[in-house]
Subunit: 293 residues, 6 copies
C-alpha cells in the first residue's frame, strides 16, 4: 500500500523559467528513458515477483522512490513554464516572421492542453507507452532490463544537465544522476547476489544447454560478404563470458532450404494468377469454374 | 550495403500446421522481445556508431544476421497457417457454440489481413513500435540494452520451445536459443573489451563524479514506512559494484520543499475560482472585470 | 514524496485461478478505464495544480490511493495465473483441435512475456497510453474528466464482478466498486465546493461570454435533413443548465462559404494537372518549362 | 445515412496565413480534445445506443454537426499554410543559423507529407488514436465523457482564440466556443432528463448498493503519512452528492495481507535462483537434475 | 457541411447473433483496411484539395458515403452482440475448462468497455490510428493510395463474406463488396481523367527528370549475391510502364564510400573508450582531465 | 539469408551539417512514406508470397535494396548532426529569448536520446509503426500498396530535395528519386505481367461478380443534398476501367431501415433509465427489484 507526504524528495528550484527546457525535461518524465517507465517497471516486477522475498521488497522500495522522481520533474516542468502563455501569444501573433516562429522551442501542448504543467509524454509530445514496462518473470533478464533503463536514463540526465545553466536545475539533475549511479550498481549487485554473471548466463539458466543447437552457441557469425579476418576482439576468440564455451568466428552461410509455401487458399481471395501461374486466361476461367463456387 | 540469397540461415520445418502457434510466434517477430527490434536496434547502433570502428563492424554483422531470423520466423508463421482459412470458416460459421469460438486461438488478421502470412505485430496483434529501437550513442548503455534484448528474447524463445511438440519448430527454436546464448555473451564481451564493468560504471563514465550529489550515489533508499532493518543483501552494504564507493542503507525522508506553483496564467483560461480561492462570487465578478478584458 | 508498506489496501484472494479472468482484469489495470490512468491523472493534476492548495492536497491523497489499487489488481492477475503455463502447453500442443484453441481465452503474453504476472496493457494486450492522462489546468474541466474516469471505471468493475463466481474476486471488486462510488461523489463535490454547476459553466468560466458568437450558444442544431419537430426533451427548450440562456432548436443550414484554396505550391510537387486543370498536355509542357526550373 | 453540401457551417477566413497557427489548430482536429474525437464519440454512441430512441437521435444530430467542425478547422489549416513551402525552404536552406531554425514553429509534415493541408494528427504531429472514442453503453457515464470532451475542448478553443490576432480566426473560434457552450449544457441536460444527478449516481445505478463494500463507499481516504486534520471542504463531511450517504474522512491503513505468490512455474524459464533461493549452486544443480527434464 | 437521416444506406440484418463475427467485423471498421480510414482519407483529401474543383467535389461525395458504411458495420456489430454478456459470463465463470475458454473468440472489450456495441478498433482491439489517413497533396499519389485502400478493403470484405453463413451478413457484405468495385474503378478513372498512367508517371510528374540520377531510373537492381540471370518478366527488360525509358537488369554493387562519422561530441556523454579507442586506462585518465571540465 | 558489405549503395556527403535538415530526413526513415516501411513491406510480402516464385524473388531483391536506403539516410542524419550538441546548448541556455528558442528546428531527441544519430521515428519524433507494413496475400492489392508507397515516397523525396541547398544532400536525394521512379514502374509492370489492369480488377478477381449486389458495382453515388448534375468526368459515365460495366451517376437515398437495437443487457450495467425509458422512478424501483438480483 502507498502513502505520501507533501514535500519533495529533493529540492526543486528554477531560477529563470525556460519553456524550452520544460520541453526537454519531458523526455525524463514520459520518454522511454524516463521515470514513469522505471517507476512502473520496478513496481510491476515487484507485484509479479516469484521466488525469494527480498527481491520483491527491494523492487518495491525503489519503484516507490521513482514516483518521487516523477514528482520532482513534473514540478520542475511547471516551474519552467511560469509565464509561458504570454510569451507564446506574442510569438504566434507577432507580425515579425522571425519572432512568430519561436513557438518551435516549446511543446505547444504545454499551453494548449495542460495549462503550463507536465504531461505524460516525451520531449516530442509522444505519449508514454505501456509496452516499455518490462517484467519477464526471469529475475536476471529483468535486472539487465533495469541496468539498461538506468544507463540510458543517466545518459539522458547528464545531457539535460549539460543543456542548462540554471543552478537550480543543475542541482536537481545532479541529485537524479547520483540516484542513477546507485541504481545501476544496485541492479548489478542483484546479479552478484544471485551468484554472479557466470552462474546466471545464459539467461534463462534453467533451459538445458543440451537442448540448444550447440554448434552455434558461441559462434560469432560474420555476415560480411567480403569475409574479413577475425578482429582482435574479446568476442571473436577466447573463453565465453559465461565460462561455458569458447568464442569462435565463422562466416555466414545458409544451413536451411529455400522456403516454399503452399498455393493460396482458394477461399482466401488471392488473385487467380497466383493460383495458376498467371499464364493463360482461358485456363484461369476453367479453373475458376472448377475451384470457385 | 545489403545482399541476400534465397535460402534460410537454418532449416524451418513444420510437421503439423498450427494456427495457434503461428499467433504465439508473432511475439518473436513483432513483439518488444522480438527480432525486428533487435535487427533495427543493432543496425541503427551501427549506422550511428562513433568511436573505434570495430564496434560498428560487429554491430553490422549481427544486425544483418537478425534479418535472417525475422525471415526464418516469418516462414514458420506462414507454414503454421497452411489451411487455416477453412478451419476458421468452420469455426465462425458453425452452429455449435463451442466450436464457433475456436477463433480465439488464432490471430484473426492472419486470415483477414495477411492471407496466411506473418505480420509486423506481436502475439496480440499490437504493431511493432519504433520506440523500442534503442541506440543512445553511449556504447556501454547500448550494450546493456542489447543484453536485455537478448535475455528477454531468449526467455521468450525457451517458452515458445516449451509450448510446442512439433519437432521442426523445436529444432528451429533450439537454433535461435543458441544464437541468443552467443549474443548475450557477445554484448557482455564488448563490456570486457572496453575494460570491464568497473571502468565503465557508472554509465556514462565521462560525467565527472564530483558533479553529482555524492551523498546519495551509493545509498539504497528504503521507502518503507515501517523502516525495516537493512537486509543481508549485496546491495545494502559493502563495496559498490563499480568499486568506487560503499553501499549504505538509508530511510527515505524528504530533503525538498512543499512545491508552490504560481497562480494560473490569466490568459490560460483556468476557472475563476482557481485565481481567487473560489470563496466569494461578488469578489470574483470584480476581479473578472478588472483582469479580464 | 512517496512511501509504502508491504500489505495491500484490501485483501485479495483467488479461490480458483482462472487465466481467462486474468486477461479481463487487465482492462482495469492498463485500459483507458483502468487504474494506471486514474493514478497518473490525479497525480499529474496535483503536480500541476495552481490555485487554492486544498485541491492539490486532495488530488495527491487520491492519486496515491490509486497506486494501491493497481497493486491489488496486479496481485489478482498473478494469482489468477498460477499454473497457467502447463495449461497453455497442453492446449497449444494438443492434437485435439477443440482443445488446442483454448489459448484464445488467455492473453498469450501472460505466459510468453511476463511469466504469469500483470502487465501495463489492457484486456486485448494493447499497451497503456499516456495520452489518456488528462490534466487541463482548468479545475472544472479536470473534475469532469475525473467523474468520467470513475464512471466508466465503475461500469467496468461491475461488469468484471458479474463475470466471475470466485468469492475472493467478487470481494475485491466490491471494494473497488465502493471506492469508485466515493470518487464519483468526491469529484462532483469539488464542483459544489467551487460554487456549483451554474457558476462553473460554461467551462472555462473566465472566457467572456460576449466574445463568443452568441446566437449559437444555446441552440440545439438538428442536422437531420428530414427536419423533424423538436423533441420533448430537456435540451430542446427551456432554461439552459447554467441558467445563462434558453435552449432553442434549429435546423442546420450553412452560414459559411464554399471553401476555395489556392493552387498547389509550385515547389510542393503536386501533379502538373492540378496546376493547369489537366486538359492539355501541350500546354502543360509549356507551363512546365516556364514555371519549373 | 449521411449527406453533405459544399458550403461550410460557419465562415472561415484567414487574413494573414500563419503556418505556426496551422500547427496549433491541429490540436483541435486530431488531438484528444479535438473534433475527430467528439465526432466519432457521439456517432459511435448513437450507433450503439440502447434504450429510449430520443437519445440516439440527439447523438446522431450532434455527431453529424461535429463533422462540419472538422471541415471548418481543416479548411482553416489549409488557408494558414498558403505559401508555406517557400518560407520553409528559405529557413532550412538559409545560411543564417538563426533564420534556418525557424522551421520549429511549423509542423514539418504540413510541407513534407500533406502538401499544405490538414492531417489527422495533433499539434505535435501525434496521430489521432481510436482509443479516445468512449462509448460505454451506460448513458450517464457517456454523458460525463461528453461533458469532459466539450470542457477540455472549449478550454482548448479559448486558448487558441487567445493566441491569434487574425480577425477571421478569432471569428471562427468564437463560433466553435459558442457551440461548445451549448454542448456542455446539452450533455448535462441529458442527465437532468434522466432524473438528475442524484438518481443517476453512483454510475451505474443498476448495481445493487448492497453488493459493494459499504464501509468505504463515502469515505475520503487520506494517504498522507502526516495524518493532517480533515479539511473544511465539501468532500470531507456532510451528505454525499448523490444523497445516499455521508462523507467521512479516514486515514489510510492496510486491510489486506502481504501478498505471497507461488514459486515460478518450472516450465516458465525463470532463473534457478528464483526457485531455490539462490543460495547454493550445488543444490541448484541437484534440483535442476530433478525438476527439469 | 454535413447532414443525415435516420435510415441506413443499405439494409443490415443479422439472423443469428454471433459475437465472434462481431469481433471480425471490427477489422472493417477500425482496421487499416477499414471504413474509418477511407472515410477520413477521402474527406481530408477533399478538404485539402488544390486544383480543379471537380476532384474535390467527387472526394466529398465518396468520403460522405463512407460514413454511412461505418454506420452499417457498427449496426452489424451491435446486432451480432445481442445477448453476448450472458454467454460470456457462462464461459468465464464456468468450471468446465473447455467452456471457460470460449471467451477467446470474442473481443472482451465488447462486453467490458462498450456494452455490446462497436468501437473504433480493429479485430484485435488495436485502436484506429490517424497515421493511416493519407493525403499527400499530389492527386496521383493520392489516387493510388485510394486504390490500395479499396483493394485491401475489398479483399477483407470478401474474406468476411466467406467466414459467415448468416444470410443477412452476406447480403450486407455483398453490397459493400460492390461499392469497393466501384471505388477501385473510380480512383483509376481519375488517373485516366488526368491523362492516363503514362502522363502521370513518375509521380510527382512535376519534378524534372533531368534532376534525378538517370542511370538508375529504370534499372532493376538484383541484390542476390548469386547473381542469377534476368528473369523473363515485364520488369526486367522492355519499355518502362511510363514509356519514358527502358528497363534494365543490373547486379547490386556499392557506389558509395564506407561511412565515417566524427568522434562523439565531448558534451554528449558517450563512454571515454569511444573517444580514445578504449585501449589504455592511463591515457584515458589523462584525456579526461584534459577534455572534460 | 542476408549479407552486407561496409560500403554504401550510393555516396552520402554533407557539405554543411544542418540539424534542422536531419529532422526533416527522419520522415524518409521512420515516417509512413519512409524506407523502413517499404523495406519491411516488400520483405514481408516476399516471405509470405504464395504462387509463382518469380514474384517472391523480385520482392526479396527490392526489399533488400531498401535496407541500403535506410542505411544511406541514417548516415545522412548522423552527418547532418555533427556538432549539434554545442549548438543546442547555446540555444537552450542562452539568455537571448530569440536565440534560446532555436531548439525548435531540431528533434531534441537527436541530442537527448540518440547522441547525434538517426532513430526509427518520423520528422515529428513519432515512432515507426508496424501497422504500416501491408501484405494482404493478394498480389494485385499488394502491388497497388507498393505503388502508393513509392508515389508518396517520391513526393516526399522531391520535397526534401527542394528544401536543401547542400550539394551532397541533393545528390543523394537525386539517386533515391531515381530509384523511386524505377520502383513505381516496377510494381505497375507486375500488374502488366499479371495480364493488365482489366484482368486484375476488381481486386480480388477471384470473388464471383455474381455474388456482389450488382446494381451498385459501377454507380457513382452523389451524397450532395443539392443533387447537382453529373459532372463531365471519366468516373461519371462511360465504360468502367475494368471493362466489365458502365459507370452511372446516382443520388444517394437510403435503402436500409432505421436501425433498432435491443434493450441493454440486464447484466451489462447500463443505467436503469435506459431499460425503462427513464420516466417513472417508482416503476424503476419495481423493475429493479424484479430484474436485478
Amino acid at each position: 500500500m502507498f502513502y505520501h507526504d507533501k514535500k519533495l524528495q529533493y529540492q526543486v528550484r528554477v531560477e529563470t523559467p525556460n519553456p524550452a527546457f520544460a520541453k526537454l525535461l519531458q523526455q525524463a518524465i514520459g520518454g522511454i528513458e524516463g521515470e514513469i517507465r522505471v517507476c512502473l517497471q520496478y513496481l510491476f516486477q515487484a507485484w509479479g515477483s516469484r521466488g525469494p522475498a527480498k527481491y520483491r521488497d527491494m523492487l518495491l522500495d525503489t519503484g516507490t522512490e521513482e514516483i518521487s522522481h516523477i514528482e520532482m520533474l513534473s514540478t520542475a516542468v511547471a516551474l519552467n513554464l511560469e509565464g509561458a502563455t504570454n510569451e507564446l501569444k506574442d510569438k504566434v501573433a507577432g507580425e515579425n516572421p522571425i519572432v512568430s516562429s519561436i513557438l518551435g522551442g516549446m511543446d505547444p501542448r504545454h499551453v494548449l492542453s495542460s495549462g503550463l504543467a507536465a504531461m505524460a509524454v516525451d520531449s516530442n509530445g509522444v505519449p508514454f507507452n505501456g509496452s516499455w514496462v518490462v517484467g519477464s518473470g526471469n529475475i536476471a533478464a529483468d535486472m539487465y532490463a533495469n541496468v539498461m533503463a538506468e544507463s540510458t536514463g543517466r545518459v539522458l540526465a547528464t545531457r539535460l544537465w549539460e543543456l542548462t545553466d540554471d543552478a537550480g536545475m543543475k542541482d536537481m539533475l545532479a541529485f537524479l544522476i547520483a540516484r542513477d549511479t546507485m541504481h545501476q550498481n544496485q541492479w548489478l549487485a542483484v546479479i552478484e547476489d544471485l551468484g554472479g554473471v557466470g552462474s546466471n548466463l545464459p539467461i534463462p539458466n534453467t533451459f538445458p544447454m543440451s537442448d540448444q543447437v550447440r554448434e552455434f552457441e558461441y559462434a560469432f557469425v560474420s555476415t560480411n560478404i567480403e569475409q574479413p579476418p577475425a578482429p582482435d576482439a574479446r568476442w571473436a576468440s577466447g573463453p565465453s563470458i559465461d565460462g561455458k564455451g569458447e568464442f569462435k568466428y565463422v562466416y555466414a552461410s545458409p544451413l536451411g532450404q529455400e522456403p516454399v509455401l503452399g498455393p493460396p487458399d482458394v477461399k482466401g481471395y488471392a488473385q487467380e494468377q497466383q493460383m495458376t501461374g498467371g499464364l493463360d486466361k482461358g485456363i484461369l476461367e476453367n479453373i475458376k469454374d472448377t475451384i470457385l463456387p
